[in-house]
Symmetry: C2
Subunit: 422 residues, 2 copies
């Protein structure tokens, strides 16, 4: 296994997400172990803007192209694919076929076969793919993971979470270039975006490493949020006024797992609300409730300290995020976006790519997450019928062991360690 | 329609709940419009205790019996049935057949036919049955109902809620008389207790009055909480150590409605946690989130004031419970248990019984709620298959109009009224 000191990275897709990842997060790694070797977007203007921004940071101008196939021909070790949901699968497969280490930005798929094609490309070529789910590295999510691993929650039987983010303004604001979700929301009805909530749960529930998703059932509320928003906030002659949306405002999904745990997910993006991932872990000795950022532990908390009476539990997440600070957040100060999660996920990607090793969120995890969108669409279309979740490991799940997911920096992750307890 | 000034009430079932309802809540109404005419329990000791307690309060000793059939032979106008889940249906039907106005304490059923039998008894005899769901009268629930009726939430597309109550100690504490849930949890696997969460939603969603439940899907996590609790908290030779439980720790249920709304319910009673009903109403202009007791209104709150950043929303429920105080809570000071909800639900029962009128939570509502337990059991047994919810109104739901549910005291419920806005 190679272990490069520095890797050459290409970037495909320089929209809102891609431009920040490339010219901020990865630019911050140029003095460490990354060379920004090549950049690509369908729109030349975007490529030029990023190239200028990099040069302005005294970073050598990368190879620039509007054709991703040209980028994949360059001498690069790894590629970060941040293009649209409808293009990133084909690009990822082509990259794997060229032996390039792939980082794939999150999103669902449109057809189950795309998940199998990712698996086949990996198994045929031996190339690795990491699914870049930053929320797996969220501070609260890793706090909960550490607490679970130390047995603080006891046995975990249920997890829930959501992608709750009011996107009404974002979706309807684009003038000429319409937001990518707009077409999805006009034509589809499903959990288009399950990875931020389900990703971190998979690590606690050992999905694909001793456990697996078995069934998925999904339910959509009626679709009123976007239409109502457009009616009230856009001009009467705005073409948006003509649109009808299939996408329900609240998508509720339940997954059952081979070891008996249940998972409940919510997609909630077209109603007014505050942002929350509602990351929740329920165990026999304790729980974390993301919506009210509360840890509840048997023996430490009283049932009526909670929401019913004194409300004292609310926001004690801060206290526990210190007490059970995960080594990644304790030992490394993240730079870059989304409160530091981005730094951690992209560092895990770079460290894995340098070793050309199995990444902490691998191609089987990617397929297991991305397929949920298609299954959600099918289940909703069938009135909530439970759908079988494919076993992308083809039977290997009950013998596979997770690699050291939350230890990409080769930390000695033997906790509890006294110094973590503030 | 009769309109009695005072009604004679009988009570069947004087366990934990029944004794409080009879000798506290109804005893407080004796100087108003209630005569406690007869009391009954299978255990004579309980009957004697309550009789003594009433006499101690200078209330005339009621007719006492251990045979409910004897009680139903007495000259009573109404009966409150607080006996076990497995007996209260038969008793309710017998009472209706005798023309007695029935109040039925909450709980699910064991067989769908019992719901139909209630409907048939009502339609055959004309006797009324009120389902005594106190949480319909909760302060936050009625705040949300008022806000909804005033249009503050816009169109409501989704509701969620739970019965989240750590009952591990209660269930395992009985020595000779085992807790009634114990047998259920050993033998069944379902949402045994959906009424506290779904009841209040039905009023917002106009269930049985222009809308109805269409499908139910239910999912059970593995059952580890009770066994783990017993192992850690009971003596090694306690017979409880031998028990296995079928009841999953977290039951997740999704209901779809005829008008396109979705409902998500959770039963969560065998893991350590704080009490919450998590009553949540999601609309196109605003929402209430029970878990963190937060109102979020478009234009008034910012999405990042919420849990993601400042946490300023938490607990603003108090502020809104004042601003949108429901007339029932504004004009009447409740006495008795469960923070006042009991007072309101039993006052609604008494007011309805005095008029012998259709009650605010009627026999169709009762059947619609109680059947959810059976459907949940069936859906879980079928791997989450969606079950059809019967239309107990047999087609009348889309023409039926709700009676003035939250106005049992004949309030002039024209709001907004200036005096309600503190």
């Amino acid at each position: 296994m190679s272990n490069k000191e520095k890797i050459k990275v290409g970037f495909i897709g320089l929209g809102g997400r891609g431009s920040g990842v490339c010219s901020d997060t990865f630019a911050d790694m140029v003095d460490m172990d990354v060379e920004i070797a090549a950049i690509c977007d369908f729109f030349e203007e975007r490529v030029n803007t990023i190239a200028e921004k990099l040069v302005g940071k005294n970073i050598p101008k990368p190879f620039c192209t509007t054709n991703y196939k040209e980028l994949l021909e360059q001498d690069i070790d790894a590629v970060v694919i941040l293009s649209s949901w409808s293009t990133h699968i084909d690009i990822a497969i082509e990259a794997m076929e060229k032996g390039i280490y792939v980082g794939l930005e999150v999103g669902g798929v449109y057809a189950m076969n795309d998940c199998w094609r990712l698996i086949e490309a990996h198994e045929r070529t031996g190339s690795q793919l990491m699914f870049l789910e930053n929320c797996c590295y969220g501070q609260r999510e890793l706090m909960a993971l550490r607490m679970f691993r130390e047995g603080v929650f006891g046995e975990v039987v249920h997890c829930s979470g959501s992608y709750s983010h009011d996107l009404r303004s974002e979706i309807t604001d684009g003038k000429e270039k319409k937001h990518y979700r707009l077409g999805n929301y006009i034509n589809r009805n499903c959990d288009t975006y399950p990875s931020h909530d389900v990703g971190p749960m998979m690590k606690i529930l050992d999905i694909n490493n001793g456990n697996r998703f078995v069934t998925l059932s999904s339910f959509a509320s009626c679709a009123k949020g976007l239409k109502d928003y457009i009616k009230r906030h856009k001009e009467p002659d705005d073409p948006l006024q003509m649109l009808e949306f299939k996408q329900g405002d609240v998508i509720t999904t339940v997954i059952t797992c081979a070891n008996g745990e249940t998972i409940q997910l919510t997609l909630d993006t077209t109603l007014p609300r505050f942002y929350s991932r509602e990351f929740t872990v329920r165990g026999t000795k304790g729980s974390y409730f993301g919506l009210c950022d509360a840890v509840f532990l048997e023996g430490e908390h009283d049932e009526f300290e909670g929401s019913a009476k004194g409300h004292n539990l609310y926001k004690n997440g801060n206290e526990f995020a210190n007490r059970y600070c995960h080594p990644l957040w304790h030992n490394y100060t993240p730079r870059g976006g989304h409160g530091g999660m981005d730094w951690h996920v992209f560092r895990a990607f770079v460290e894995s790519a340098k070793k050309n090793a199995r990444p902490p969120i691998d191609v089987y995890d990617a397929a297991s997450i991305m397929c949920l969108t298609v299954l959600s669409e099918q289940s909703i279309a069938k009135g909530g019928a439970p759908m079988d979740v494919p076993d992308f490991t083809r039977g290997k799940w009950y013998q596979r062991k997770d690699i050291d997911f939350d230890n990409p920096y080769n930390l000695d992750r033997q906790y509890p360690l006294a110094e973590y307890v503030f």
